[in-house]
């Protein structure tokens, strides 16, 4: 396993008490695997990614649990050590390519800087590697574009550059936070295909965070569904999408509009909204909105237990006593 997250808990202390943004989340990612982390806004998926890479904005902090990268713990490293891990062994791709690139330097310069910092290659070797990366991510006329500035690229191409930058130091794990959300549909498809190809060829573990289930369906092998900071279902993509086990996932799949030849009369809707972090109900966080809830749901919080080919945190799938 490249990444192992165990019982991660992220809190944001406020003067009215601590808000728990990520509550007891565990998962792992194997080399070359793409794990999709899906959830609506406020579910805690971005916070999870930031916690793993150590970029939580204070006063947010990891309150419990551990994060292991290739066997070694990284959640408790001093800032200097974490800085070395970041970029070299973990890379992150953000939603907005414009703010990920420094507008004052050419992309070639930025690529070379990353390569030299983390891989200590000679200038000529690092330039060659940078060019190779640009070609690998599909930038046409790489030799010329090497000397261009970020603003001279369009959105989709910029995102490719960002991906090249992320891969420059040959990280074991790439965290991509909504990498295609700001892009047009046709470009989205290109970037998705690129991520998939690179993960396989470089044997990089990819954590793909997005609210778009369609993107996950195309790109990921497994998917984790988050709700109110908790992991409610995790399993192979096909199974989670076609036979969701947790009532929230069921509702989510029903609510997603799909291109169909007959116009559906209405989409499945889940009444209400995801609770705010300061108002999470006791027991199962989803219980007030759940069409299949019963008494136990409002009292005890369920853990992940096997459900079909996946795991779901739901009392409908009572864990078998050992």
């Amino acid at each position: 396993m490249i990444l192992e997250v165990k019982n991660l808990r992220v809190e944001f202390p406020t003067r009215r008490g601590a808000l728990v943004a990520v509550d007891d989340v565990s998962f792992s990612i194997a080399p070359g695997e793409v794990l999709g982390v899906v959830g609506e806004s406020g579910a805690g998926k971005s916070v999870t990614g930031l916690a793993i890479i150590g970029l939580l904005e204070p006063p947010g902090r990891i309150a419990a649990g551990e994060v292991r990268l290739e066997g070694r713990r990284i959640d408790n490293l001093p800032p200097e050590d974490m800085r070395r891990v970041r970029g070299r062994r973990i890379a992150m791709v953000f939603q907005d390519p414009l703010t990920s690139l420094n507008p004052l330097y050419t992309i070639g310069a930025q690529l070379e800087e990353t390569i030299r910092t983390h891989l200590a290659l000679a200038p000529k070797a690092s330039r060659e590697k940078a060019l190779g990366l640009l070609k690998e991510v599909g930038i046409p006329a790489a030799e010329q574009r090497y000397h261009h500035y970020p603003h001279q690229f369009s959105g989709g191409t910029r995102q490719r550059v960002v991906i090249a930058l992320a891969l420059a130091a040959e990280p074991s794990l790439v965290i991509a936070d909504e990498p295609t959300t700001a892009l047009d549909v046709s470009i989205q498809a290109q970037i998705i295909a690129l991520l998939k190809r690179l993960a396989a060829s470089h044997r990089t573990a990819v954590m793909l965070i997005t609210h778009d289930m369609g993107v996950i369906a195309e790109t990921a092998q497994r998917v984790a569904v988050m709700y109110a900071g908790r992991l409610v279902e995790i399993g192979p993509v096909r199974d989670v999408i076609h036979s969701p086990q947790h009532p929230y996932t069921v509702g989510l799949m029903g609510a997603i509009p799909k291109i169909s030849l007959s116009r559906n009369k209405s989409l499945t809707q889940i009444d209400g909204a995801m609770p705010r972090l300061n108002a999470i109900p006791p027991g199962c966080a989803f219980n007030p909105r759940c069409p299949r809830r019963f008494e136990r749901c409002a009292k005890e919080r369920p853990d992940l237990s096997p459900a079909g080919a996946s795991e779901a945190a739901c009392w409908l799938h009572e864990p078998r006593r050992a």
């Binding site: 959105g155 989205q188 498809a189 289930m213 909204a273």
Partner: protein, 310 residues
């Protein structure tokens, strides 16, 4: 006769650099043609969707329809009484300093000149109609979630008793489950009140759920217009086909995909002839030189010349 008719509508924006810079650097004026020769008619009671990616001009069309700015050429004819608009950003469409009740009441006060007592009654009615409660009228927008704010926007739009509602990406900023609630609400309101919708979106899946007819836009031009079922079953224009191919497939039927090439062109430097030709696998010399006319509900030389099935 359509409720709304656009005839050869174009809209240009002056994006020249400031006068002083132009004079000193000897640059000519620059215009951006956001919408180019668009013609369509919207029938009463239908939902017409306009779909396209960035730079397609669909948002500009929305604003041309409601009259936020006039067309540079062509005509917009509205044969109903009133139009209203629902916007994309639930956080910027409500004035944060106003109470919800005042927000919903604003059209009432300015269009109908109702008496004070009746206004409150009507506002309460509207709030209930969109799934909120009369007490919500006392609160401020920031106390509501994105989905609830869109409901408030809808209530405000309905207050003006419009015939036509122009919806500019009304659910793009919402979570999937909330989107479903809002789309269902809009469908129900349409049934109950006999509304006509012009629905702008970049999301083909959403469009397939709501639209009766779909118009596909590319680089400011209308390239295809068809009933929804037909468009999704038998897309004709190469861009429409490419678009449908590119939508991430939830069903994962594993259909082979034609590799998608290129990006949306820079609106200031559109290719000559058919704007899509650089990315089109069927482009020929004529496509590079001559802009295809919108004929038979599609604007494509290859289809007109029977080179591909149309």
């Amino acid at each position: 006769m359509g409720l709304l008719e656009l005839s050869e509508v174009s809209r240009d924006f002056d994006v020249s650099r400031p006068w002083l810079n132009r004079v000193l650097e000897g640059e000519p004026r620059r215009t951006l043609r956001a919408v180019d020769g668009l013609s369509l008619a919207v029938q009463r009671g239908e939902t017409l969707a306009l779909v396209g990616e960035s730079g397609s001009g669909k948002s500009t069309v929305a604003r041309l329809i409601v009259g936020l700015y006039p067309p540079s050429s062509g005509r917009v004819e509205f044969r109903g009484r009133r139009m209203q608009m629902i916007f994309q950003d639930p956080y910027a469409s409500l004035n944060p300093r106003w109470r919800v009740g005042s927000i919903v009441a604003e059209p009432l006060l300015h269009l109908r000149k109702e008496k004070a007592a009746r206004v409150k009654e009507r506002v309460d009615q509207l709030l209930v109609q969109v799934g909120l409660s009369p007490e919500d009228g006392e609160k401020f927008p920031h106390e509501f979630s994105g989905g609830q704010r869109q409901r408030i926007s809808i209530a405000r739009a309905l207050a003006g008793e419009p015939d036509l509602l122009v919806c500019d990406e009304p659910t793009s900023a919402l979570d999937v489950s909330v989107q479903a609630q809002i789309l269902n609400l809009m469908a129900e309101l349409q049934r109950r009140l006999g509304l006509t919708y012009v629905f702008i979106s970049h999301n083909l899946a959403v469009v397939s759920e709501v639209a009766d007819r779909v118009g596909v836009m590319y680089a400011g031009r209308l390239v295809e217009l068809a009933p929804a079922a037909e468009l999704f079953a038998r897309p004709r224009h190469p861009y429409t086909r490419m678009l449908l191919d590119a939508v991430p497939d939830l069903a994962m039927s594993g259909k082979p995909r034609t590799p998608v090439a290129g990006e949306v062109p820079n609106p200031l430097a559109l290719p000559a002839g058919c704007a899509f030709h650089p990315r089109c696998p069927h482009a020929n010399e004529r496509c590079r030189a001559e802009r295809p006319a919108f004929v038979n509900s599609v604007a494509c030389h290859a289809i007109a010349e029977d080179r591909i099935r149309g």
